[in-house]
Amino acid sequence: MELTSPGAATLRRDPDQATGGGGTGDAETADVALAASGDGRAFERLYRSHVARVHSLARRMINPDVADDVTQDVFVRAWSKLGTFRGEAAFGTWLHRLAINVILARRTTLGTERGRYYDAENVLDAVPGRPVVHELSLDFQQAIGRLPDGAREVFVLHDVEGYKHEEIADMLGIVPGTSKSQLHHARMALRKYLE
């Protein structure tokens, strides 16, 4: 999958936007340049700045049990791919898209293709192989984790990460209509888990 830049303007949670492109962003640009030339300390600073976001994305998108492993994989790949970073998007945006690619590839490797797209409101009840937990005991984050893979990925990418349906459809290899449908079913299912 080609590593392209997402519609950066659509990302609500872009940490580079959060810093307002001020001093922190400038310092990060220097760290990216240093890291690309082999400076491990500069890369560690980049890791410290972005690990929470990458780990949270992995935890929500795939599985908390493998989030550590996936996060390590993301940063190892980022290190080896820094030379391809064009500077056209913010580093955080580039890293985020790289993380999504790694996560989607890992999902396939893990064979988590079961029941990807359920077309029902009670999607949490339709997931095979997941432990039966009393629904009211789940918090919102746990409930996201129990969504079928397709609905969970669309929900996280759209409502948590701020991607558009067209972008999500491109990432997941589905049509935008399926993305909209999965998002609605995920939202309907999650209503019961609002605190």
Binding site: R12, R13, D26, A27, T29, A30, V32, A33, L34, A36, S37, G38, D39, G40, R41, F43, E44, Y47, R48, V51, A52, R53, H55, S56, R60, A67, D68, T71, Q72, F75, V76, W79, S80, G83, F85, R86, G87, E88, E121, F140, Q141, F155, D159, V160, H165, K180, L183, H184, R187, M188, L190, R191, L194, E195
Partner: protein
């Protein structure tokens, strides 16, 4: 719940419903309590999703990452370009000598400043007398003394970088990132110098200026290594 309009509520929230359908849905909502309740719940789900906090992993993953990419997880470590690229790395002897000399001087200045005693309350900063005292008779003395050699080293490395740029060994994207970084660092140096002019006794500002100058030199040195220099 099996209301025809329920399926469209998410699109309504996201603003992607065509105008005519939006108007029809709004008319329906005016008379349907169940749909209004569902709409409110869906909005709360969206708001809850947007409010989720990012949390770091429970354990620090850096040591394992550092091991995998071959850098030290503790002290400062720079991976040699030869380890990461097959590209030939060449420095001229004058470039290496100049960079090493200036880094040494800047490092000494930084170390000295770090070891300085803090300002005495009610008085100015008191420089500790010692081997480096000659560089700090004036609070900015060491910076001034290194300035000409620093400028010469920077000029030498920038020349090497320019040659790599002109020869096409550095692609435009790399040049753009490097240029942006250098502009940022130069701006920081200017600001630090201005601040230091207003408060020449500030150990912090001296340290900050030294760090920033060292950072520029380091970036230039690494950037020059991306393209073959004259031999």
């Amino acid at each position: 719940m099996n209301d025809t309009w329920t399926e469209r509520l998410s699109e309504y929230i996201d603003g992607t419903l065509p105008d005519a359908e939006r108007a029809a849905l709004e008319a329906h909502l005016a008379g349907c309590t169940a749909c209004r309740t569902t709409l409110d719940e869906l909005r709360r789900v969206v708001a809850r999703a947007r409010a989720l906090d990012d949390r770091p992993p429970a354990a620090d993953l850096w040591p394992a990452i550092a091991e995998q990419i071959g850098v030290s997880s503790g002290a400062h470590h720079v991976v040699s370009l030869a380890e990461r690229r097959t590209r030939r790395v060449t420095f001229t002897v004058p470039q290496l000598a100049a960079a090493a000399a200036v880094l040494l001087l800047l490092g000494s200045g930084g170390a000295y400043l770090a070891l300085r005693r803090p300002p005495v309350e009610g008085g100015g900063a008191i420089a500790q007398r010692g081997p480096a005292a000659d560089l700090t008779t004036s609070p900015v003395g060491w910076v001034q003394k290194t300035s000409s050699r620093y400028d010469a080293a920077v000029a030498e490395l920038q020349s090497a970088l320019e040659q790599g740029r002109a020869s096409g060994r550095l692609d435009s994207a790399t040049v753009r990132v490097l240029t942006q970084s250098l502009v940022t660092i130069d701006s920081a140096i200017v600001q630090a110098r201005r601040a230091l002019a207003a408060d020449p006794g500030s150990a912090y500002l001296n340290q900050h200026l030294a760090d920033t100058m060292r950072r520029k030199l380091e970036l230039l040195r690494r950037a020059s290594a991306l393209a073959p220099a004259r031999t």
